[in-house]
């Protein structure tokens, strides 16, 4: 039962073949069985079972909603009313929001059940889910050599929750690849929507001009179903787009005939043998479906990763200034002055990666460095956005790998930070340009691990991305 897709579970719930209470209990049992994966920070046992009873009543009375009785896992940066929300940080270890984020509220309003809050890199800063105050999350997949693998990040807990059958679907967030990279490492589907399509209200901020909510699920149709419920204008988020949003899952086709697909020459250089095999197979399948492949020079795709590592930390340094031990969260103890209270609270409350990025952002924005780094990065971001705009005048979408390699082992984690940041080589340009991109499993590496294939489209082309991904899946 727990291996099924959301669409299959909904059909079984509607036909009364299963009950929501039994479904929730089955996931709770599996979470307990696989607790060594450390995918969850908080498991909502009582509230989930109570909500499941309500869902079963609705099925009995014919008032079931679109996601009635489906257990979902939410990344622990979505504020959930009355449920602890930590962003995987000591500084928010005991924070209990009194309001619900817009995207989780929309899912709950359609009958979804929050089964738990998933582990992540602290404040979403990381690509391995190894930087959490609550300990690392491990990938449920095993390589042929049996070594423990990282799940990717920062939405590593959400990816493992879906991949290891601990929830029917999940929510991640993507600032520079944090949905797509863990989805690829865990063999599931994930979409980073167009900037502004999903409300950011109630999402703990990392880099506000780049952060975007998105769903993660077992297949393309489930991902489309979750996204169509999450999207829509929200006056509580000033950057929320007010545009019509289609029913992606109902409109889903796998037709790629006539589509013009760009492949970046730079993305074909220095490819691993696994990625080369994956890209060749995807190109062949698209051509067989009637799409035309165009090989295009687009060096900015890979060159702009450092731009992300300038813009994101500068915004983070400002966003995270609110954690000062006064209004909420951890407060340092002792006979301290106000200045000492701030600096000791933040010294104790933030982990090393968060401190590193706040320091970097503060340094870049400080006198004498602003023009050399931040202004220059903003100018290159403009060049990148214009280059994508020009590209999509002729192309429908871009085909690219999601990650340079499949999931790697704990003892293969690079020791220098810039090598870790290069995990994001194929993902950060999408966020800098505000574009949508989907990842889905496509083929296997030599080691037996799934490979992630990425499709990038112009703004608001989510339906095309779902359709083409469905063709390739």
């Amino acid at each position: 039962m727990i291996e099924s897709t959301i669409c299959t579970l909904l059909s079984k719930l509607r036909s009364k073949e299963i009950t929501s209470v039994a479904l929730v209990q089955a996931y709770l049992d599996e979470i307990e069985k696989q607790k060594e994966l450390n995918a969850f920070i908080t498991v909502c046992t009582e509230s989930a079972l109570k909500a499941a009873q309500e869902s079963d009543k609705r099925y009995a009375t014919g008032t079931a909603r679109r996601l009635e009785g489906i257990p979902l896992a939410f990344k622990d940066l979505y504020c959930t009313n009355g449920i602890r929300t930590t962003a995987a940080s000591k500084i928010l270890e005991n924070f209990v929001p009194f309001y619900e984020s817009t995207v989780t509220q929309r899912l709950l309003d359609e009958g979804a059940i929050c089964i738990g809050k998933t582990n992540m890199d602290e404040f979403a800063m990381g690509s391995m889910t190894q930087y959490s105050h609550f300990g690392p999350t491990y990938n449920h997949l095993k390589r042929t050599d049996g070594k423990k693998l990282i799940p990717g990040g920062s939405s590593g807990g959400s990816a493992v929750a879906v991949g290891a059958n601990l929830a029917a679907g999940s929510l991640g967030s993507d600032t520079g690849g944090s949905i797509r990279q863990p989805a690829a490492f865990c063999g599931i589907v994930g979409i980073k929507p167009t900037y502004g399509l999903c409300s950011r209200f109630g999402m703990i901020a990392f880099a506000s001009s780049l952060d975007q909510a998105g769903p993660m699920a077992k297949d393309v149709r489930d991902t489309a179903l979750l996204l169509e419920i999450m999207v829509g204008h929200d006056p509580k988020d000033a950057t929320s787009l007010n545009v019509p949003t289609p029913s992606y899952s109902q409109n889903l086709t796998s037709d790629v005939k006539g589509k013009n697909v760009a492949v970046f020459n730079e993305c074909l250089q220095d490819l691993s043998a696994d990625n080369k095999k994956m890209m060749n197979a995807a190109i062949k399948k698209l051509e067989e479906g009637g799409a035309t492949i165009h090989y295009v020079d687009f060096p900015l795709m890979k060159e702009t990763t450092p731009v992300y590592y300038i813009i994101a930390p500068t915004e983070a340094s400002s966003n995270l200034a609110r954690y000062d031990g006064v209004r909420f969260g951890h407060r340092a103890e002792g006979n301290l002055s106000v200045e000492e209270l701030f600096s000791k609270t933040r010294q104790e409350g933030f982990g090393n990666e968060v401190k590193r990025r706040i320091l970097m952002g503060t340094y870049i924005l400080s006198k004498g460095h602003y023009d050399a780094y931040y202004l220059r990065a903003q100018k290159i971001q403009s060049i990148l956005r214009q280059a994508f705009t020009d590209l999509f005048k002729k192309m429908d979408l871009v085909l690219a790998p999601t990650t340079p390699t499949p999931a790697f082992a704990l003892d293969e984690i690079p020791t220098d930070h810039t090598s870790i940041y290069l995990n994001d080589l194929y993902t950060t340009a999408v966020n800098l340009a505000g574009l949508p991109a989907i990842t889905f499993p496509f083929g296997y590496a030599e080691s037996g691990l799934p490979m992630g294939c990425q499709l990038i489209g112009p703004a608001l082309s989510e339906q095309t991305l779902f359709d083409v991904a469905a063709h390739l899946s």
């Binding site: 924070f95 209990v96 309001y99 900037y195 001009s209 006056p235 000033a238 950057t239 929320s240 787009l241 007010n242 900015l300 890979k302 060159e303 990763t305 450092p306 590592y309 300038i310 340094s317 200034a321 031990g325 006064v326 209004r327 909420f328 969260g329 407060r331 301290l336 106000v338 000492e340 209270l341 701030f342 600096s343 000791k344 933040r346 010294q347 933030f350 401190k355 706040i358 320091l359 970097m360 503060t362 340094y363 400080s366 460095h369 050399a372 780094y373 220059r376 990065a377 903003q378 100018k379 290159i380 403009s382 060049i383 956005r385 220098d416 930070h417 810039t418 090598s419 940041y421 290069l422």
Partner: protein
């Protein structure tokens, strides 16, 4: 000092940010640091800043307009989202005192 030559992405390089600069940034960011922290971050940030020098190889036209998210922003009326906002807000306060946030004494 910062514009040293850059070979390729991913190159870790010798320190190009001083301990004084890290200490200054930590002061601005109000994050307490030990001497060991400052030394460690100076080395790490130096490597990252060096990696960022690769951006100097991207030509930038003089007339490039800056990306401004303002054109996306939809201004709304500033309304209180909850009638009982204050008491709910105080529930997470580390030191609530008479419905105010308690802080150390500021004036001697």
């Amino acid at each position: 000092m910062l514009y040293t030559s850059c070979n390729r992405l991913g190159t870790q390089h010798a320190m190009s940010i001083t301990k004084e600069e890290v200490s200054y940034a930590a002061g601005l960011a109000k994050i307490g640091m030990t001497e060991e922290d400052i030394e460690k971050f100076a080395t790490e940030l130096g490597g990252i800043l060096h990696w960022m020098q690769a951006l100097n190889q991207i030509p930038i036209p003089d007339d490039i307009p800056l990306y401004r998210p303002e054109n996306l922003v939809d201004e709304r009326d500033d309304v209180n989202p909850s009638p009982d906002y204050s008491s709910q807000l105080m529930a997470n306060a580390p030191d609530p005192q008479h419905n105010f946030f308690g802080v150390p004494k500021v004036i001697e």
